[in-house]
């Protein structure tokens, strides 16, 4: 589904991705872990197409299409979804109107008929229930005055509504208490299927107790320095990142 080959990128003169290689297939859940400043969130931003990130080298294939060539909205329409680490507040844009616009733009792109108000509401109700999202929040302005947890849950609700192929959850667990984390995780688990895939970007192993990944990658200094299965996450939890950094630095020296 997603093939990242030798991806280099920079933001404001600073190179932050230095050759990422990653393949994600349908039905898989990948966790990307790493210390602060390793480039985890930058990877998410580059994939979603944030303007101030400049790709220097490499390619990204998304279901046979060149992802890097597309505008942010076309990436979304092709089925890429990013749950933001800091979802933005937009006063004056109602949550529901926003979602309906988004859903229908995606449907139009896919040459599907737009949903009418009734169909949309039915779908919305169904998904709200699925991800335990408060109906009151649906009718408010987009994220305005939402608590940190409510914002993250809104991201998962949008994920449920837009039914993307690939979802990237950028530190969705940060700042969540244990109940909110459980709700978010159970939402994701319900949405998992053999046809879609997830990339979980996280600093802590905690989230992975709830959403069990098929693969775990460690990102450090703009590169994936180690990949493994879910056991790797446990090892990281126990030993921290330093042992990996050391090995990595030795390798670099030898090179």
């Amino acid at each position: 589904m997603l093939k990242i080959k030798n991806l280099h990128a920079r933001v404001e003169e600073k190179q932050i991705l230095k050759g990422i290689n990653l393949v994600v297939n349908a039905g898989e859940v990948h966790a990307i872990m790493g210390p602060n400043g390793s480039g985890k969130s930058s990877l998410a931003s580059v994939l979603a197409g944030r303007e101030n990130y400049e790709v220097l080298e490499g390619e990204v294939d998304f279901d046979g299409k060149d992802l890097l060539d597309m505008s942010p909205e076309d990436r979304a329409r092709e089925g890429l979804f990013m749950a933001f680490q800091y979802p933005i507040e937009i006063p004056g844009v109602s949550n529901i109107n926003f979602l309906r616009t988004a859903l229908n733009e995606i449907r139009t792109y896919k040459k599907l008929p737009a949903l009418d108000a009734k169909q949309f509401l039915r779908l919305s109700k169904e998904k709200q229930k699925l991800v335990e999202f408060d109906a009151k929040l649906v009718n408010r302005s987009l994220n305005e005055g939402f608590s940190g947890g409510e914002k993250k849950r809104n991201e998962i609700f949008q994920l449920a509504m837009l039914e993307p192929k690939l979802s990237i959850l950028d530190e969705t667990d940060s700042g969540l208490d244990i109940d909110a984390l459980r709700i978010v995780a159970s939402g994701v688990n319900k949405l998992r299927s053999k046809d879609n895939a997830f990339i979980l970007i996280t600093h802590y192993q905690r989230l992975l107790e709830y959403i069990v990944p098929d693969f775990v990658h460690v990102l450090y200094n703009g590169r994936i320095i180690k990949s493994g299965t879910k056991e790797l996450a446990l090892e990281l939890e126990e030993k921290g990142y330093d042992w990996l950094k050391e090995t990595f630095q030795e390798q670099t020296v030898q090179l």
């Binding site: 505008s71 979804f81 979802p87 004056g92 844009v93 792109y109």
Partner: protein
């Protein structure tokens, strides 16, 4: 004081007064005309040295040879012109004025509301009682000129305790075959405990001729009365509007003004003056201006808190495209007697083009101590983060921009109490937000 002889129009207007027959008018009105005339003779047209006209040079708009007042041939009112004013799915009564002249037949209105052309109503007790009482002809150039030389207009009053069941839509249509300088004059009286909602829509045709409209509306809101006053300005290129509204509010009254200045007209200058003449009044002024092309839109408001325990709330939002220039000047004046005043004022602007200009000057002048007054002004552009967020959800750039501009205007549009009008305004905004105009 100020030399005006450089503008031929000034001379024409002075002569115009001498030739106008004011005989047969009520003595009060004749008196008001004479005062207005003397005052205009002294004041002339404002220049940019006048603090209230610092950002709006009026002189370029006065250079044409204008026919003054109703001299132009009364044109047929075209369906296209009326259509411009129509608001889809609005359920309302409707009146049409062409070049300030009330058109017949008019919709059947309930008995408790009376509509007359201001010249016909000359002996009406209330007209005589209220006419010119709340307009300061000594300091306002255009108000003086209008008072001296107004052609015709509307006199509208609603009886005490009456409630009009649906909005009254007044269409002010302007058309001309040559250049026209026209001065309509209106008076609206909302008697005590009455409730009225009026939508005034200003439209004009787009001929090669220039139309200068210097209109003045006096509004009286009596005790406990409630008046929702909507003004839609959707005039065409070639039209210049100087639009003054002088409002007087009595005890416990509520006045809400919503002014929407839309693209095209060369110049829109609104002077909205609200005088809080008694205790415990409530005032809301909402405005939205959307400037395009070379347009100049200038909103001046003045809220005069004279008595205690009054609340005023003002929110104006501006969106400027192309080479448009926006001006906002909101003055809140709190007199020594006006203790326990709450006054809030806000002006936000979006500059969507690198050639657009905004000049904003909110101002507070406060002479009482037990008050809560605040104001704020901002100038900015659409947030890049918000744009990215919307686009990352599959919403295209154009749609995202329209969503965000509508959201920007939301603080004003959500206050519209007539759903059909709210929808119409949102539609007009979306229509004028172009692609890739950053």
């Amino acid at each position: 004081m100020t030399k005006q002889i450089t503008i031929p129009l000034y001379e024409d207007l002075l002569n115009g007064f001498n030739n106008t027959s004011i005989h047969g008018e009520n003595e009060t009105i004749q008196e008001a005309r004479r005062n207005g005339f003397e005052s205009f003779k002294r004041l002339g047209f404002p220049t940019r040295k006048n603090e209230d006209w610092k950002y709006t040079g009026i002189t370029p708009f006065l250079q044409e040879q204008y026919h003054i007042n109703g001299i132009a041939k009364e044109a047929e009112i075209s369906a296209a012109l009326i259509n411009q004013a129509s608001i889809p799915s609005l359920d309302s009564y409707r009146l049409v004025l062409l070049n300030g002249q009330l058109q017949t037949p008019i919709d059947t209105l309930p008995d408790f509301i009376r509509v007359k052309s201001i010249r016909e109503a000359k002996e009406n007790v209330d007209l005589v009682k209220y006419f010119g009482k709340n307009t300061d002809v000594n300091s306002f150039h255009f108000a003086a000129l209008n008072t001296a030389l107004f052609s015709n207009g509307l006199f509208l009053e609603i009886d005490a305790k009456a409630i009009l069941d649906k909005p009254l839509h007044i269409v002010h249509a302007f058309t001309a075959t040559g250049n026209l300088f026209i001065q309509p004059r209106h008076l609206i009286v909302v008697h005590s405990n009455a409730s009225l909602s009026v939508i005034e829509t200003v439209v004009s045709e787009n001929p090669l001729s220039k139309i200068f409209v210097n209109s003045l509306t006096e509004v009286v809101v009596e005790e406990n009365a409630c008046f929702d006053h909507y003004v839609m300005q959707i005039a065409q290129i070639g039209t210049r509007l100087v639009h003054q509204t002088d409002v007087s509010q009595k005890r416990h009254s509520v006045y809400s003004n919503y002014t929407f200045s839309m693209p095209k007209a060369d110049l829109i200058r609104n002077n909205l003056h609200v005088s809080l003449d008694d205790d415990q009044t409530e005032t809301h002024l909402y405005g939205l201006y959307l400037g395009e092309g070379q347009q100049l839109i200038d909103n001046h408001s003045f809220i005069n808190h004279k008595r205690p325990n009054c609340n005023s709330n003002e929110i104006y939002k501006g969106v400027l495209l192309d080479k448009a220039v926006g001006v906002f000047n909101g003055k809140v004046f709190v007199q020594p007697d006006a203790q326990k005043t709450n006054a809030f004022q806000q002006n936000n602007n979006l500059l969507l083009s690198n050639k657009a200009t905004i000049n904003t000057k909110p101002q507070l002048e406060i002479f009482a101590d037990d008050v809560k007054c605040s104001h704020g002004a901002t100038v900015g552009q659409l947030s890049k983060d918000a744009m990215f967020y919307l686009r990352s959800r599959g919403i295209g750039e154009e749609a995202a921009r329209a969503l965000l501009v509508n959201a920007f205007a939301f603080d004003v549009t959500e206050k519209i109490k007539i759903p059909a009008l709210e929808q119409h305004v949102n539609h007009l905004i979306a229509q004028h937000i172009p692609v890739n105009k950053n």
